[in-house]
Amino acid sequence: MWEPSSSVLSGSVTSSAILDRFRQGDLDAFEALFREHQRAVYGWILRIVREPAAAEDLTVESFLRMHRACARFDPGRSFGPWARRVATRLALDWLRSRPPECELDEAGAALPTAPVADPGVAAEIRLKTAQAMARLPPRLRIAAVLSLVEDQPHKEIAAALGISVTAAKLRVFRAIRLLRKDLERQGITP
């Protein structure tokens, strides 16, 4: 899933000269990086926050943070994973700042999605599942969304969250356990 963006995020496209200039605060280099990574960063944030307008704002904020921190960027490393980590941190803060009911009101309303909705699954069950998801602590929810909904590998999730692969797996496991308990309380047995 999401191969094209992943290849961009690997940083292989960005030349080291641009990264060097970015590190020195060069605005043209920053714009080049922005143009190259904007879509990937936006797509990654959208997967987490699931709200296009918020994803746009957070994309802008992410790049501003990268610009502020340009001196700390190591040009020997890839820009993409660093950008993704900055974006993930901001998206997590955004999730933490919102009460779960806000997300339920707006979740998926304008989100461009892949066609997977099965008419056989009752709308009520879908709503209860979304509610259970929204009640998860943000740090578990982010891991669960990326792993279970977006099919991102644990390695990618771990890198984005700045944690070990084992910790990422553990968060997904704990999220599943909490979701299962919550759904069973509501009379749904997955």
Binding site: M1, T59, T113, L148, I188
Partner: protein, 85 residues
């Protein structure tokens, strides 16, 4: 918990929260927004809200009021405060 159980949860989640489209992109060019914010940050006066003095939290106002009241009641303490400032 088995992998089979996880698949059940996974399927439910995918029905409740469909995965975002892989080719999703912003509805507009975000670079002008970034430039605008950079400009605002580079000029400190522009970055400050115009009514910044009115947006002080209540406890700051309470502290100021307390200090003024203290100075009125104990004016002799003012030189001591000035000495320590």
């Amino acid at each position: 918990m088995t992998a089979y159980d996880d698949e059940g949860i996974k399927n439910l989640l995918k029905q409740a929260l469909p995965p975002a489209a892989t080719d999703a992109e912003p509805a507009r060019d975000l670079w002008p927004d970034v430039l605008h914010r950079l400009d605002a940050e580079s000029s400190p006066t522009a970055a400050l809200p115009r009514s910044s003095s009115r947006t002080l939290p209540w406890f700051d106002w309470a502290l100021i009021a307390g200090l003024i009241a203290f100075a009125v009641v104990f004016p002799a303490a003012i030189p001591m405060f000035l000495y320590y400032l």
